[in-house]
């Protein structure tokens, strides 16, 4: 979605997405998450006061999911933008020449080829995202990290528990690496690898 905006011919749309991607890349996720969690609550209270609704509390889970979604939307935007540009124009023209509609060209020609270029970037983003989920523990969400914190405090064995969290994260990255390799192999069918 963001990628489409950034490549759009319509200038204001492009400017907005540019602002969005620079903002997200220039501000730490933690700061943004704190802003959404605390600031969002304040803003929501104002709105609720205005309409005289009942009190709604933003729970840390929603704040965490919203922020991480917001941040990684920007990263994926950049990845997809690059990938869309990498698909050669001749392919699209050929699609049009066969009489496909714009939608058909997108799904049958653009998308499968774009995905091949985007996969390495998607993989990197995914691994970064996976690890950045650890910071939700700082806004009071009980993820693995904060559970390890509690368990470590009550048993006086923080090292053991944090190490266990590390092992779980490593397992997750290993599994994602495997899946990504499979996907890359699938989308690279018919492409000869450069022999360096």
């Amino acid at each position: 979605m963001g990628a489409a905006f950034k490549l759009s011919d319509f200038l204001p749309l492009r400017l907005w997405t540019m602002l969005y991607t620079t903002l997200v890349r220039g501000v730490p996720d933690l700061v943004m998450m704190l802003l959404v969690f605390y600031g969002g609550q304040l803003l929501l209270n104002e709105v609720i006061d205005y309409f005289e609704w009942e009190f709604i509390e933003i729970n840390p889970f929603v704040a965490g999911v919203l922020t991480i979604g917001f941040i990684f939307g920007a990263y994926f935007t950049e990845t997809f933008r690059g990938a869309f540009l990498a698909v050669s124009a001749g392919q699209l023209e050929a699609g049009r020449a066969y009489g496909m509609s714009a939608w058909q060209v997108f799904w049958r020609i653009m998308f499968p080829q774009m995905l091949r270029y985007a996969l390495p970037g998607i993989g990197n983003n995914w691994l970064v995202l996976l690890k950045s989920t650890a910071i939700v523990s700082l806004i009071g969400l009980s993820d693995m990290t904060s559970l390890a914190d509690q368990a470590g405090r009550s048993t006086h064995q923080p090292f053991t528990f944090y190490l266990a969290v590390c092992a779980l994260y490593l397992a997750m990255t290993a599994v994602s690496g495997y899946v990504l390799n499979r996907l890359t192999a699938r989308y690279n069918v018919g492409v000869r690898e450069a022999n360096v």
Binding site: M32, A134, L138, F159
Partner: protein
């Protein structure tokens, strides 16, 4: 109620300033140490001997596969679990006492983390060294060490600049988690200001802007460095300028 009160920011400026210094110190020292250690380890990483490259790749795999926050907590809170560590603390051992200092623990965690990423960046650049350059060095009768010192490292360290700039920016932003171990960096200052004035927008938006400015400065510096040391890799632009 006003949503944005500038007075909150102006009265807390000294606190933000100290936070900024803390953030810059943490990231600066961690990046410097990480880089210095990373260069020889990157050479080991590309070694063909599995006994040399194996330990280094295990190290980078661990630190790149786990969140920096967990590494930081592991070092800061985890160290106290060991009886010998507590005994060393009781005895006042100067080195092990450092593990009680949040600043040292944050430096250690950040340094180890950035070192791991930097190793992979340098090693990647070394593997991409054009084969002909190495052959030429061999043909000139250089030993492996000489070739490394004169040919491979200078050119890889230049070619790594674009990816290293990403790492530096990620490190700057990653340092925001230092507030988890009671350090008052920029983010920590913002959290303090927030809890004192209950002013989330002022505190976090202002700090976000500072981070944004820092990022822009870093991006600008790296652009300048690339223009200086990577000019030879941008032939197309030069050709275009000649035509015009």
């Amino acid at each position: 109620m006003e949503l944005f009160d500038f007075q909150v920011i102006t009265t807390s400026l000294p606190e933000f300033w100290r936070g900024l210094l803390m953030t810059l110190q943490l990231t600066g020292i961690a990046l410097l140490c990480g880089f210095i250690v990373a260069v020889p380890l990157a050479v080991a990483r590309v070694s063909k001997n599995p006994w040399v490259s194996g330990p280094v790749s295990a190290y980078t795999y661990f630190f790149r596969g786990t969140p920096m926050l967990v590494q930081l907590l592991l070092i800061y809170y985890g160290a106290g679990q060991w009886a010998w560590m507590q005994a060393a603390w009781e005895a006042g051992h100067p080195v092990w006492l450092l593990f009680r200092e949040p600043f040292f623990c944050a430096l250690l965690a950040f340094g180890l983390n950035t070192c791991a990423y930097t190793i992979e960046i340098i090693a990647g650049a070394m593997r991409n060294t054009p084969h002909g350059e190495i052959e030429a060095a061999k043909a000139m009768g250089m030993t492996r060490f000489k070739a490394l010192q004169r040919i491979v490292l200078p050119s890889s360290l230049r070619r790594m600049l674009p990816s290293y700039s990403n790492e530096v920016i990620l490190m700057l932003q990653g340092s925001a988690i230092a507030s988890a171990v009671t350090l008052v960096d920029l983010t920590g200052a913002a959290r303090n200001v927030y809890s004192r004035h209950f002013a989330p927008f002022e505190a976090f938006v202002f700090v976000g802007l500072i981070y944004l400015v820092l990022t822009f400065v870093l991006v600008g510096l790296f652009k300048y460095a690339e223009g200086r040391w990577l000019a030879h890799l941008a032939p197309r632009k030069a050709a275009r300028r000649k035509e015009a």
